[in-house]
Amino acid sequence: MKIDYHKYNFEDFARDESFRQWIIYRDSQAEAFWLEWMIENPGFESKINLARAFLYALEEKDTSLGNSELDAVADEIILEHKPKRIPFLKSSIFRWAASVLLIAGMGVTAFYFFKPLTDKSLSTLEKISPVLIENYIEKANNSDKTQEIKLEDGSNITLYPKSKIRYPKVFTLKKREVYLAGQAFFNIAKNPKRPFWVYTSHISTQVLGTSFMIKANENAKDVKVEVKTGKVSVYTLKDLEERHEKQQVELAGIILTPNQQASYSKNDDRLIKSIVDHPDKLDSAPAEELHFSETRISKVFDQLERTYGLTIIYDSNNMKDCFLTANFENESLFEKLNLICKVTHSSYEISDAQIIIHSNGCE
């Protein structure tokens, strides 16, 4: 459709869709079109500029949000206004984490355990850590008790039954690298200049701080890392391999802090961050007791955050009239949260290792 702009007065320009795309929506294609049109059609400048000035005057200020911000607005509305809230116990992450525990508990993996490393994991390992292929020590725990292993750098590994660990006779200068099949608890000596890496069949964990547990049964469905103290970052092996090949500096890993865990889902080769099944009070937590008497809910959440090192997200305005009276002793974090939710007519869910409270307020 060809429009004859020569008959346009300035009001027509101001209401023309393509013209509006240029001025109001800052569309670069439309801009190019109109700038060219003005060159080809001299004498329309005053009308066009008046139309522009008119729209700018009406607009006053560009308060526009970008597309990603707008999508965030939409996500927030959808997330906070789900028709039915899924109680935590039924959420997929929890069910799935529970089944991991079950598998580990029943020892299903025992059958596979003594199989040698598969070709595929060997070749991957060779690429990212040749030292673990050439000159290594391998220890397997065939007993039914845990085994302590002390490494040359002073780190301690608690190896669980039916698990094995492989480490070099001498660590390289730049990295301390071990390979794990099964389950182990690591207590790592700090040495920022020689980061400590734990590889498993699907994921790798780089230690930024101190102690953590890895459950990685090579042929079991799922693998996970739980952090007790310090900080670790976890990557899929695929990510590491890619970095190795492309010499990338950026890595798509996730960082875990105490009471957080990463689970690897083999099906979609992806890491999921969540909260450990049994969060413990942090060693560094303040000694204050969790006794509350008509305490403002924001203060309660503050104290829980400090005690467990986990983030609690809630609408402080919405919950400004919520108060709690309770003496917590040895309940688990989740039992505490259940009680708080009951009192404040709320529900909670875990997303990305954060606790999100949904409340309708306490008025």
Binding site: D16, A53, L55, A57, E60, K61, N67, I77, E80
Partner: protein, 205 residues
């Protein structure tokens, strides 16, 4: 009259129907399409970006929550603008942003405020002067006329849509529009003539 792509009523109604069926995608699309325009309108009443953003968001939340019972409007854009207008007026009154003890009705206690364009967005100096002049002339109009002009030109609405938003009858929208345009054109012509005389040296101050 051409129908603009952006407010094509067919696809808006389709989006609305999808939204009623619980489509999160449709909600996202409507937000992408209208959120910024709605914020711009709200800003004409209260110059507080955060407050206006909350109001617009609130409008979408209410639509999303009531989607099962909500009817399908004739014009989605007009419905949204009118909801934002009501929301801004009510919230500003409730939160006592506008405190007018003598106000008998909320509606009239709030002004469609004067235009004060931000110059920084316009690089070209002559254009920026022109914009300033246009806003001066528009500000001489009564507030209802200013709002009608804004809805007609910035929001690109039809007479009936404007009538619905401002709760006027369509004829008075036409009247406001005509009167506003008559004044604006006269003043503008005078201004341009003056400019011309200055630039050709026929007038000295």
């Amino acid at each position: 009259m051409k129908l603009s792509q952006l407010s094509s009523p067919v696809s808006d109604i389709q989006l609305w129907e999808q939204l009623k069926n619980g489509s999160e995608l449709a909600l996202g699309k409507l937000i992408r399409k209208y959120f910024n325009l709605l914020q711009n309108y709200g800003f004409k009443f209260i110059k507080d970006e955060d407050f206006i953003k909350d109001c617009v968001q609130e409008v979408f939340i209410e639509i999303w929550n009531r989607r099962d019972n909500i009817s399908i409007p004739e014009s989605v854009k007009a419905y949204l603008l009118s909801s934002v207008r009501k929301k801004v007026l009510r919230e500003s009154f409730r939160q006592k942003i506008v405190r007018d003890e003598f106000a008998t009705d909320i509606e009239n206690s709030l002004n469609f405020i004067e235009f004060s364009p931000e110059w920084t967005i316009i690089e070209q100096e002559s254009l920026s002067e022109m914009t300033q002049k246009v806003s001066e002339l528009l500000n001489q109009l009564p507030k209802r006329q200013r709002e009608v002009i804004y809805l007609r030109f910035y929001q690109n609405l039809e007479r009936d849509e404007i009538a619905q938003i401002m709760e006027l009858n369509p004829q008075s929208v036409s009247n406001h529009l005509q009167a506003a345009f008559k004044t604006f054109r006269e003043n503008w012509t005078g201004f341009v003539l003056l400019l011309h005389l200055i630039s050709t040296g026929k007038i000295f101050f």
